[in-house]
């Protein structure tokens, strides 16, 4: 097959080329990189770009899922079938100590829960395997403190982010030099927006978890957010009863902390249409972002993505 790439590339082609450059650069410069895989749409795009970067060779790094054990059941099914189909190496890490202590999103509040099951768990996993670079699918358009994030985000020995001490990043010359114990978070999707991600999923026919598409699901209303009752662990408050609603998710996290939106979009084209008409940001459905003003920045300083 012979095709001509236009000398005037579309912005998606430019973003794709830039992301592939970043992924290859990281794989070349770090001894032991890993790609974080959260099963969401951004992870799917990131993984797709990584496969493009090394084709026809296999990925030169494994995937890591930091599992809180509270993901939607459909996410676990998707994770296992998708990675098995592509023959990808997948590591799953859970914070066993916190789980043994009974950590859950209901009793401990979203802040403590996120710190233990996501931040602490991630740092544990990185240390356990000695990973020196970890790809993440975060985008700068998600949240204001993310807008300040570098593509190569340096973390000290304790996995902490210090916004005032970020390395200047010029051209496409990334400085990946670190000392033992330090690590880098690498964000190849930095310059993508939510709309770019969906356009790319459509264009490249990238599979995503069916939870992104509207279906009748059992939900309860919590502070104006539709929370799905995904399994028997969901704690219903007195008088609360799950009702069936036609909903979908714009962002996927732990099911008790992910708000669904009412929707009838059943495919990617309809999602894009809906996005163009609805004008609410995707992170509005993320309860953990709204704990307090600047809460994402504080989480990131501690080691959260």
């Amino acid at each position: 097959m012979s095709e001509t790439l236009s000398a005037r590339l579309s912005h998606l082609a430019v973003l794709e080329a830039e992301s592939i450059h970043i992924i290859r650069e990281t794989a070349a410069e770090f001894a032991n990189p890993v790609m974080l895989y959260s099963i969401g749409k951004d992870s799917q795009v990131l993984l797709h770009l990584a496969r493009k970067a090394f084709h026809p060779a296999p990925l030169p790094f494994p995937l890591l899922h930091v599992d809180t054990t509270w993901k939607f059941r459909e996410m676990y099914q998707f994770r296992d079938s998708f990675t098995a189909k592509l023959g990808l190496k997948l590591l799953v890490h859970q914070n066993k100590k916190a789980l043994a202590e009974g950590m859950n999103p209901f009793d401990h509040g979203s802040q403590k829960y996120t710190h233990a099951m996501k931040t602490q768990s991630l740092l544990e996993a990185l240390a356990l395997h000695g990973f020196d670079a970890a790809f993440g699918g975060a985008r700068r358009d998600e949240e204001k403190s993310r807008a300040k994030e570098r593509v190569y985000s340096f973390r000290d020995r304790h996995g902490q982010w210090e916004p005032r001490k970020q390395r200047p990043e010029l051209w496409n010359l990334y400085n990946g030099r670190i000392d033992a114990g330090e690590s880098m978070r690498v964000f190849p999707l930095s310059n993508w927006t939510e709309l770019d991600v969906w356009h790319y999923i459509l264009k490249e026919r990238i599979p995503v978890v069916p939870l992104y598409f509207a279906a009748e699901r059992p939900v309860v209303d919590r502070k104006g957010q539709w929370i799905m009752v995904d399994d028997e662990r969901m704690r219903l408050r007195p008088g609360e009863k799950a009702t069936m609603k036609r909903v979908r998710f714009r962002t996927l996290g732990c099911y008790p902390l992910s708000g669904a939106i009412e929707s009838s979009a059943t495919n990617v084209e309809e999602i894009i249409t809906e996005m163009m008409e609805a004008r609410v940001s995707e992170r509005q459905g993320r309860l953990i972002d709204h704990d307090e003003e600047g809460s994402m920045e504080l989480k990131k300083r501690e080691g959260y993505f």
């Binding site: 012979s2 095709e3 001509t4 790439l5 236009s6 000398a7 005037r8 590339l9 579309s10 912005h11 998606l12 430019v14 973003l15 080329a17 830039e18 450059h21 290859r24 070349a28 496969r51 493009k52 970067a53 090394f54 084709h55 026809p56 060779a57 700068r140 358009d141 949240e143 204001k144 403190s145 993310r146 807008a147 300040k148 916004p163 005032r164 970020q166 390395r167 200047p168 990043e169 010029l170 051209w171 496409n172 010359l173 400085n175 030099r177 670190i178 310059n191 927006t193 459509l202 084209e269 894009i272 249409t273 996005m275 163009m276 004008r279 609410v280 940001s281 509005q284 600047g294 920045e297």
Partner: protein
């Protein structure tokens, strides 16, 4: 996001999707002094181009003190920034126009954050500089324009902001644009445009303003949409830094990388640097299949016709218009390090896909960012910009930055702290010109003051006796308390020493044609020293 889009049928959606795919990427940097209204301008661009969501707008409405929306609150993201009401770090924002997706680098205005401005400017296709109409063109405005031109941004929009506070007076606007134009003509911009705006009022930003009937009606957004795109990449020679060698099996050996500039086709003759081995392009591979040709900035994988040894850090280029291999080079540096540049220390230079040990042999001059003049300097401190002579342990396969922003750029890394301490732009090979420039930086007056004497060349010519005469003369002058050296045969060296304030006894046993000329012609440019002919000496 596109405003109030109504998709009525499948055809509408397909058209919309097609339009979105065809959008080009434009990278923009917005700069200005503190309180020039930069955050407000960016906030308004995002708001009016629907780059914001309702909940974000609602959050800002809650946080805004008065009735009006404080647009600047859309952008300052860090806690310290909100506390201090300033922008500290470069941040990136996104919005779309009908034709373009725009990445905005929002950079701090304070001079102590010059490094962040350079960061934002390094990838930008266009720059917007804000001028407060009440304050006029400030040194800061000129500084920002200088840095934008230094980083190679071709297009500049000078936005005269807060025109509402000057009653949209065309005379104010005319005076400021004229003043800036005189300065801008000394910089290398391809295009400079002016806009009378009010970021707070929304005048001439996305909509033409009824309050500036004397303006041609062009808006800032209209200008952004009209800019030529990827100009520098299209016609440039082919450059391909090898990032990664793909070797999934014994039959496949591909060189992966991002095309830095130009276009490559299957069958093209190429040269691999630094080995200078010639071969042909056998295939251009991608995940989606093989291509007949590919252009910058695509990330592709090249296979070569011959078994050539190629590894990460090598560069593949067309045989015509090849890059240069430079080990001694002159470059502009923007210094980022908390610690000063140390000319006795070894640094690491990252250029394309490789690190090379290097040291700065000499700082030729530093840019005085207040006066924008070149001043003598021994070193560079945080946020300084200067010209240096750089010596690399291995040659960089490069082009001048003005010709190629990818192969002409590098960063400097401190190997001890791993910090990125400078950004560099390659000017070209280091030559004699460098020494000349360095010499002229310390004035003869300064040297005279330190040594307590004027420099001079004492010329002894012709006869064999000078060989015995010169040492005696040197002894005599030394005993008189003068700083003196003897130079045999080399007029250039003698001149340099004299310029440094020394008495240089220059002698040669043989008269050589033309050498006396060198002294005479150099004399007028260095008024601090004088040529003492041998006759005047023997008279003493």
């Amino acid at each position: 996001m596109t405003a109030a889009l109504q998709l009525n049928d499948k055809g509408d959606l397909q058209r919309f999707l097609a339009e979105h795919y065809e959008k080009e990427l434009l990278r923009l940097v917005v700069v200005g002094s503190v309180d020039d209204g930069k955050s407000t301008l960016i906030g308004r661009l995002l708001y009016e181009c629907n780059g914001l969501f309702e909940d974000q707008v609602a959050a800002v409405k809650r946080a805004s003190a008065g009735e009006e929306i404080d647009f600047s609150l859309f952008t300052d993201g860090l806690r310290a920034e909100r506390e201090q009401g300033i922008t500290i770090d470069v941040a990136y924002r996104y919005f779309s126009t009908r034709r373009r997706k725009v990445i905005v680098a929002d950079t701090p205005g304070h001079i102590q954050y010059t490094r962040n401005m350079a960061t934002g400017a390094s990838t930008a296709d266009a720059a917007v500089i804000l001028v407060d109409a009440r304050l006029g063109i400030l040194p800061q405005t000129r500084r920002h324009a200088y840095i934008a031109s230094l980083l190679g941004i071709p297009y500049l929009a000078v936005s005269i902001n807060k025109m509402d506070l000057m009653d949209f007076d065309p005379a104010v606007y005319a005076r400021l644009t004229k003043e800036f134009d005189a300065f801008a003509s000394t910089l290398g911009f391809e295009q400079v445009r002016y806009f009378p705006i009010s970021a707070r009022g929304g005048d001439n930003i996305t909509q033409p303003s009824g309050r500036t009937p004397w303006h041609d009606g062009e808006t800032l957004l209209g200008w952004l949409e009209s800019l030529p795109h990827q100009r520098r990449l299209d016609g440039a020679p082919f450059r391909f830094p090898v990032q990664y060698v793909l070797r999934p099996n014994l039959d496949y050996r591909g060189f992966a990388g991002q095309i830095a500039s130009g276009t490559v086709r299957v069958g093209d003759e190429v040269v691999v640097f630094p080995s200078k081995r010639r071969t042909h392009i056998a295939a251009i591979d991608t995940f989606d299949g093989s291509l007949g040709e590919a252009s910058a900035p695509s990330s592709v994988t090249l296979r070569l016709a011959d078994e050539v040894d190629v590894s990460r850090g090598d560069l593949i280029a067309h045989a015509e218009k090849p890059p240069v291999a430079l080990q001694y080079l002159e470059a502009m540096l923007v210094w980022f390090g908390e610690e000063r540049l140390d000319t006795s220390r070894r640094y690491l230079v990252k250029h394309t896909s490789k690190y090379v040990p290097a040291h700065v042999e000499q700082v030729l001059w530093r840019k005085d960012l207040e006066a924008l003049s070149e001043v003598p300097a021994e070193s560079l401190s945080l946020n300084d910009i200067g010209k240096v002579r750089l010596v690399c342990k291995r040659p960089l396969i490069c082009d001048p930055y003005t010709e190629n922003r990818k192969t002409g750029a590098f960063i400097v890394v401190d190997p001890l702290t791993n910090d990125t301490v400078a950004a560099g732009m390659i000017l070209g090979a280091a030559g004699e010109a460098g020494d000349q420039e360095a010499r002229s930086l310390i004035s003869a007056e300064e040297r005279r003051a330190r040594l307590g004497q004027s420099g001079a060349v004492i010329l002894l010519t012709g006869t064999p006796e000078v060989q015995t005469l010169a040492p005696r003369l040197e002894r005599a002058l030394f005993d008189q308390g003068r700083h003196v050296v003897t130079v045999r045969g080399d007029a250039e060296n003698a001149l340099a020493l004299a310029e440094a304030g020394l008495l240089a006894i220059l002698y040669t046993p043989f008269r050589r044609r033309g050498w006396g000329c060198g002294i005479n012609s150099a004399a007028p440019v260095s008024p601090g020293w004088s040529w003492i002919p041998p006759t005047s000496w023997s008279a003493r």
